[in-house]
């Protein structure tokens, strides 16, 4: 056999034109399964809660529960952005503590001083977060390790500023959380604002680049994304939202606490996961996270009205988390089998 013949490729036959694939409804449903499961859980919890307690289906209850959930929601918003990028941010615990102690030691009755310090706290949140992002990029370290370290540092600094719970928050700042506009308390408006922010952010080039980097970092790089910039913005926003969570938290506690932040680290991840945000990056929406935050908060209410030991709350939260993870892994497997 001569090379001429063997190497040359035979002319290939023409093929039938591929038909346009139909919309894959089952696939789309499977994709949204974790989110739908979260909605179902929330409906179930509200149902049980409503049958045990009167007045659950009222605006007052909505205002109260949203206020109770808002700190977690803010922290989890930042965490959702980080998870979408395929990372994790433990340092929000330190940032929240630091934010509350700065507020408790610096806020005064003078609105302009207080506003200035509030801005400083937010800026600090962004900068410290961006520093996390920079360290992750430059040192090529695991986000888990870097943010664990900054968590510890921030915690220490918070302790130095205010060793024990205390300080004071001006009452006009505290009153902000219960202020109402058109029957809805400010936390409900914040919730709407968060959703609007998300709708906007996810449609911007930056939002898409962050999601894309979480979906496949190498491909994002080859498409021209600067991974360093993505990390900077992602962790910066996470720090910013953590600072926002601190500013809201002090309206609920009326004081600063150098240790309170740690209570939000794992719940922020749990809220996102319950809401269908993938821990592997690239997939998820804030709506799911917010529902997850409601679920975690209302479980607390439920435990309260059931008159059982409050230690049942973490048990119930854990079981719900497991159920969500199970639901998403079942859905993912089903989806994968379909692709092949």
């Amino acid at each position: 056999m001569s090379v001429e013949h063997t190497v040359g490729m035979a002319q290939r036959p023409a093929e039938t034109k591929p038909t346009k694939p139909a919309i894959d409804w089952r696939g789309r449903l499977l994709d949204r399964a974790p989110f739908l499961v979260a909605c179902l859980m929330l409906a179930l919890i509200i149902g049980i809660y409503g049958s045990l307690q009167s007045g659950v289906f009222s605006l007052d209850e909505l205002n109260l529960d949203t206020a109770a959930a808002m700190t977690l929601m803010l922290a989890a918003t930042g965490q959702t952005i980080v998870l979408l990028r395929g990372g994790i941010d433990l340092s929000i615990g330190g940032m929240i503590s630091l934010g509350t102690v700065i507020a408790a030691t610096r806020f005064t009755d003078d609105p302009s001083t207080t506003a200035l310090w509030a801005l400083i706290i937010l800026a600090l949140g962004f900068l410290i977060g961006a520093l996390n992002g920079l360290l992750i990029s430059l040192l090529k370290l695991q986000p888990f390790l870097v943010t664990l370290a900054t968590w510890s540092i921030l915690n220490g600094v918070a302790m130095i500023i205010l060793p024990t719970d205390g300080g004071s928050i001006p009452s006009w700042w505290v009153g902000f959380a219960s202020a109402q506009f058109i029957g809805l308390a400010s936390p409900v408006w914040m919730l709407l604002a968060l959703l609007m922010f998300w709708g906007w952010f996810r449609a911007t080039r930056a939002g898409i680049a962050i999601q894309a980097t979480g979906s496949n970092e190498k491909s994002a790089f080859l498409s021209g994304v600067s991974i360093t910039r993505v990390n900077l913005v992602t962790y910066g926003l996470s720090g910013l939202f953590a600072a926002g969570a601190a500013l809201f938290l002090v309206t609920q506690t009326g004081a600063g606490s150098p240790t309170i932040g740690k209570d939000y680290i794992l719940p922020s991840v749990a809220a996102a996961v319950i809401g269908g945000v993938s821990l592997f990056g690239g997939r998820g929406h804030l709506a799911g996270t917010l529902i997850g935050a409601f679920v975690l908060t209302l479980i607390g209410n439920l435990v309260f009205v059931l008159h059982v030991s409050s230690y049942w709350q973490p048990v119930a939260s854990g079981v719900i988390l497991l159920l969500s993870v199970l639901a998403s892994s079942v859905a993912e497997k089903a989806a994968r089998n379909r692709v092949q």
Binding site: T6, A10, I208, S219
Partner: protein, 500 residues
């Protein structure tokens, strides 16, 4: 004047020299083919041109101006885009989001203007006569071929003066490959430069104006395409004269049935397939693409749900998930279609890829014997002549042909003697192709039973002992001996058969 001029280009990865003193020149308005064996440095060259990696030495001039892109963005700014072999697509974005990624049309609020994006997508797809794609489909739901097409659309979406196609046709079925060749000519006619890498000589012949040949990281020759013969090209590519690509066909099949398949069906794509594969036999599976070949291999390997009976060495096996039940000597092993996705862990070493799935074989009393592992790995690397710096080199950094050899090694280490080879030479250079065919014959003579699909018909004709031709999910004909020819395969694949 040349649009791109490259002189003395060098690139090392640690101890591995990927490019050394390569030269290159290409003009606007031409299709310039880049040829060379796997590992010759072609992908490295285009990665440098497209800003994905940076060179250590040498110079590149574009438009007579110095060119040294720090990242893919900088390359795009100078109008250079690449359709990467490894694809640069985002699984969780839709087709249109991928096409316009980072260049999305925007509204006043700086958000993506979806309407405009859809309009531009449809216009682009229409302008270049793209095969059917749903713009809103999520990428991870697409087949490899569809992804390749999206990657091409993405390359064209920007205002690209130099488009680089790295083995873009290797993942495409015949019809789409043909479309791409036409597209390439159209782009050149529009005054762009297309740098085209392919292992298919007929394609190069069909579209290239000029060609440059790489060997071992250096340029060995540049020709006007019509001034050089296939023979000369191959000799320059491999540095020796290749007198035969296909090994001699020695009949080694015995009467013992290794794999018996009866009435295997799966969805609408596979409807009642029967055949028997004998020990020592290479059984080809051919026909037009998309007539159930892929589904057949997946059903046999248990990757999709199917009904029917499958027997391995006379023993019936559960069709639901044979893979689990079938490890060891009576098992079945697969070389998958998408070697980068399914076959290899790109971020693991050659050693780990070879041994991960057979770790039990060198575990003694629950302890891993590193010595035993190293010995087996060395044996496999030598046997298959895998060109890697050390067994610890990451699989993702090997050239295509060597990646394929690692997959073969992985498969052989499972000790399974029924082998399913799905298009094992896709994207593999002629030299390595020859080695793979020889390996198949050697394995057959040792009693392995091989089911072999190729998208390249001459391979089936010259390598297989018998060829099953598939049409509409059925075996339309079984060709033997002198009846195995491209004409017969095509006839059976396209025409209604008389009783076969």
């Amino acid at each position: 004047m040349d649009l791109v001029t490259v002189n003395g280009l060098s690139k090392r990865y640690g101890g591995i020299v990927a490019l050394s003193e390569a030269t290159f020149g290409a003009r606007a308005g031409e299709v310039h083919a880049l040829l060379g064996e796997n590992g010759a440095g072609k992908s490295t060259f285009i990665q440098i041109l497209s800003g994905a990696v940076q060179h250590d030495g040498g110079s590149i001039l574009v438009d007579g101006r110095d060119y040294r892109p720090a990242n893919p963005d900088a390359a795009q700014a100078r109008g250079i885009a690449a359709v990467f072999q490894e694809l640069s697509l985002i699984p969780d974005l839709s087709v249109e989001q991928n096409i316009w990624f980072r260049h999305e049309p925007r509204t006043l609020l700086r958000t993506v203007n979806r309407k405009e994006m859809r309009r531009k997508t449809l216009a682009l797809l229409e302008k270049y006569n793209f095969p059917a794609l749903r713009p809103d489909q999520e990428l991870r739901r697409l087949t490899l071929a569809e992804r390749q097409i999206v990657e091409i659309a993405k390359g064209l979406a920007k205002d690209t003066r130099i488009l680089i196609l790295d083995e873009a046709t290797s993942a495409l079925p015949a019809r789409e490959a043909e479309w791409l060749l036409k597209l390439t000519r159209q782009l050149a006619a529009e005054g762009r430069l297309v740098i085209f890498i392919s292992h298919r000589m007929a394609e190069v012949r069909a579209i290239a104006d000029r060609l440059t040949i790489f060997r071992n990281g250096s340029t060995v020759a540049a020709h006007e395409a019509n001034a050089v013969s296939d023979n000369e090209i191959v000799t320059q590519m491999i540095g020796r004269h290749l007198d035969r690509l296909y090994p001699e066909r020695v009949a080694t099949a015995t009467d013992s049935i290794a794999l018996s398949v009866k009435g295997v069906s799966s969805g609408s794509r596979l409807s009642g397939v029967d055949f028997a594969l004998r020990e020592g036999e290479v059984l080809g599976v051919g026909g037009l693409q998309g007539h159930g070949q892929r589904e057949l291999f997946q059903a046999l390997f248990g990757a999709t749900r199917a009904s029917g009976t499958i027997e391995l060495w006379g023993k019936p096996v559960s069709i639901g998930n044979p893979r689990q039940a079938l490890t060891g000597k009576d098992g079945i092993a697969l070389v998958p279609e998408d070697r980068r996705g399914q076959g290899l862990l790109l971020t693991k070493s050659v050693r780990e890829n070879l041994t991960l799935s057979v770790i039990k074989r060198f575990t003694e009393n629950g302890l891993l014997s590193r010595q035993k592992e190293a010995a087996l790995v060395k044996e496999m690397v030598d046997f298959l002549r895998i060109k890697a710096g050390t067994p610890e080199q990451l699989a993702g950094t090997l050239s295509g042909g060597n990646q394929q050899k690692v997959i073969f090694g992985k498969m052989l280490l499972t000790q399974a003697r029924v082998l399913l080879l799905y298009d094992p030479t896709r994207g593999v250079d002629v030299g390595t192709k020859g080695e793979i065919f020889q390996l198949m014959r050697d394995l057959a003579s040792k009693g392995y039973a091989i089911l072999f699909h190729s998208s390249d018909m001459p391979e089936l004709v010259h390598v297989a002992d018998r060829v099953l031709v598939m049409r509409n999910g059925r075996i339309a004909a079984t060709l033997e001996g002198d009846h195995i020819s491209e004409e017969e395969i095509l006839r059976a694949a396209m025409l209604e058969t008389k009783a076969a």
